[in-house]
Symmetry: C2
């Protein structure tokens, strides 16, 4: 079974959720920019295009961050026109690493008590 949302050959394949390693996930989430992306997606009711996050880094750097998140199995990407959409693989992820994403998102939102 495939885990790619749409069959758009412009997007490299998404990893099967069972091949995700904690190492990759932590390497992805240790970066503040990438963590902000995940947190935004966690709160969002709909998928968000790359340009819609208002990231403070250059386009090429943003592309890099999204790729790391995709390869870590955290987000799913697909094209709509010229926009690359990003969605959190929330439920799949929960099955493999229960509680992890929620704990990190919660921790990220509440830096001070």
């Amino acid at each position: 079974m495939s885990y790619d949302g749409g069959m758009d050959d412009r997007i490299p394949p998404h990893p099967d959720v069972r091949t995700i390693t904690l190492q990759q996930v932590l390497e992805a989430l240790v970066d503040p920019v990438r963590r902000s992306i995940v947190t935004r997606l966690w709160d969002a009711s709909a998928d968000i295009r790359c340009g819609g996050f208002g990231l403070t880094v250059s386009n090429s750097t943003a592309t890099h961050h999204f790729r790391v998140l995709r390869e870590a199995g955290l987000i799913r990407q697909y094209y709509v026109g010229t926009s690359r959409m990003n969605g959190l693989r929330r439920d799949e992820f929960e099955e493999v690493f229960p509680g992890l994403l929620e704990a990190i998102v919660t921790a990220d939102r509440a830096p001070v008590g």
Copy 2:
């Protein structure tokens, strides 16, 4: 109030648990060696001295890892003779970042289903 276990001036001060940042915690836990230390302490019923982990790195590297964990607020260190003991600051940590440590330890233990 102080958070140092014993007043041994050989040990640098431990951070107050309220000053811990998620950034520091993730930077600490992204390293496999340090994660193995935390997992061992999570499972252990008693504190463990630095040499008791059987780390595959040199002594100076091990010292470095323990310092990162201490400064991130994850472990508490104190001397017993010439042995530096390490204990997980589990309950304090749970108050600040609920569910985080358990999620990571669980994820680390079950890489494959």
